[in-house]
């Protein structure tokens, strides 16, 4: 660690407000590069993004093409992952579904994190009654275990991929709100925030210029890990028939098709599941790595 970072790390010795954008990034990147598991996760994610962008143009079959004579074929040279009950090529369908999966994961977290971060900052910064109202609201959302909240929301909104995104987003709000509230409280205690207030800076300025940049690391970690959970929840909803509707090549929905053919064509359920595992694993690996990298206690 160089002298300048040491200096900036310690708010008591820093005369100016620390510039967090500068502060850790080099260290975090260096730690991340040394973390094999995180790097594998990161490259897997890049790979899936690439598959989602280019894949659909080079798949051997269109995802909707039904060739009934070919139905429930086991994996072969022509159909790497076999065919489903409509004779559709599972490999092609999985590639076409990659984009959907990533989009659902990404957008539901983006939406949930935005709202959650806002709630968390407001609750932590203003405290008092606003804080307790917001946090009680979060408690109410948290009272629905696991997938149940998303399930209830989708029931109300109706089954579609967009509604799944909204439902998963709403159920991820409380996690972000809680984490951000905690971080905001600890940043608020730093002396320079008081100094800014004394200088007459507006609340909005303090929140966005000084508090938010200081709490980005837990948000980034949580967002990465939450993409993994979001993908699991979304595919679960589709598996239950409450999300993506046929013939969308969504992995959860494909699994749902496959459950009827476990006896004679288990590959129909095998491959979409493996695809989900791979993507979720990648985000979990990267998320774990990010958490370690942001943690000042872990050594380089």
């Amino acid at each position: 660690m160089s002298h300048s970072t040491e200096h900036i790390d310690n708010p008591r010795t820093a005369v100016k407000p620390p510039n967090p954008r500068f502060r850790n990034w080099n260290i975090v990147l260096r730690k991340l590069k040394k973390n094999k598991s995180a790097m594998i996760g990161g490259f897997l994610i890049l790979f899936f993004i690439l598959v989602a962008l280019i894949g659909p143009y080079i798949t051997p079959y269109a995802p909707q093409t039904q060739i009934m004579v070919n139905k429930l074929q086991p994996p072969s040279f022509e159909h790497w992952f076999g065919t489903d009950n409509f004779g559709r090529d599972i490999f092609s369908r999985i590639i076409h579904g990659t984009g959907l999966t990533l989009l659902v994961g990404f957008f539901s977290v983006l939406l949930g994190a935005t709202v959650g971060v806002l709630f968390g900052i407001i609750a932590g910064y203003y405290g008092g009654r606003i804080d307790s109202i917001i946090m009680r609201l979060m408690d109410i959302l948290l009272a629905f275990p696991g997938i149940l909240l998303a399930l209830a929301i989708v029931t109300v909104l109706g089954g579609s991929l967009v509604n799944v995104i909204i439902a998963v987003a709403i159920s991820s709000i409380p996690v972000f709100a809680r984490i951000v509230r905690g971080s905001t409280l600890s940043v608020k205690k730093l002396e320079y925030i008081d100094a800014m207030k004394a200088l007459g800076a507006s609340d909005a300025r303090i929140i966005f210029k000084h508090i938010f940049p200081n709490i980005t690391s837990p948000i980034i970690v949580q967002a990465t890990l939450n993409i993994a959970t979001a993908i699991l929840s979304a595919s679960g909803l589709s598996f239950l028939g409450l999300g993506a509707q046929p013939p969308t090549p969504e992995w959860g929905a494909m699994l749902s098709d496959g459950r009827n053919f476990l006896y004679n064509a288990p590959h129909v359920a095998l491959f979409p599941g493996l695809a989900i595992v791979a993507v979720v694993l990648a985000f979990n690996m990267l998320g774990d790595g990010l958490r370690d990298a942001f943690d000042p206690k872990t050594k380089e």
């Binding site: 009680r136 629905f144 275990p145 997938i147 149940l148 209830a152 598996f239 288990p266 979990n284």
Partner: protein, 318 residues
Amino acid sequence: MFKYIIRRIIQTIPVLIGVSILVFSMMHLVPGDPAQIMAGESAPKEQVENIRERLGLNDPLPVQYLSYIGDALQGDLGNSMRSGRDVTSEIGARFWVTVELAVYSTIVAVFIGLIAGVISATRKYSFADTSLMLIALFGLSMPNFWLGLMLIQWFAIGIDLPSWVPFISDTSWFKPSGWGSFQQVVLPVITLGTGSAAIIARMTRSSMLDVIGQDYIRTARAKGVKERIVVYQHALKNALIPVVTVVGLQFGGLLGGAVLTESVFAVNGMGKLIIDSIKARDFPVVQGTILVVALLFVIVNLIVDITYRYLNKRIDLD
């Protein structure tokens, strides 16, 4: 401590009111006329009117809510649109099926998670540690409904083994559906418990590593305590405190996860009841069941918080 318990109980009251409002409004937030939806699109007008009357949908919303909550407090959650039976008795035995499923899964998850976590922590960076944590990562990343399907294929439908394997010819040891017998219980419990086992293993490992580095562990060693006792008594007792919270939350989470597991294994619990009722647009049952599960979850969380508080004597009791 007593004060804390009272305060925590009082804190849950607004949460429960909020939950009931949310559940109540489900029916009214659905686009369109709930009575029409429940009756079916082509239902005759009188039938729709009939449903509307029966559910009191003509009253103002606050009146409807108060009567809903008033009935609920007396154990009346309305009647199923499908069967006509009251929701409480629809839930009835299914309540215990889901609780059983969640409890068994929690027990299995705690057992496996603790052992794996302690082994990992005491052999940090060893081959065993690395492999266990890799397995845990997989367990965490697996959709449990997919794991369920795979388990059915491998151990219910079974895989035919080559003839040179002695004693067993195939692996169809368990039943793919239902609930009750041992053969029916095993697969759903593993399916539901795997994710939690992974989380508990990871949590136990990091908690143990944290504790093993503490000064009082060195004190125990300096006293001449055997390493095995240092690990399993001195360290584990402290390491378990944060794990208790995780276990409690996991148990609650499993109530939610049961929806998928029950659906995969056709286990007739509350989860499957919710899904079946959603598909049949049977709102009273959906609402009632979700309300019961949420209530159960809130109570479990309350118990976890109090237990944690009790165990963690280091927290100042101000």
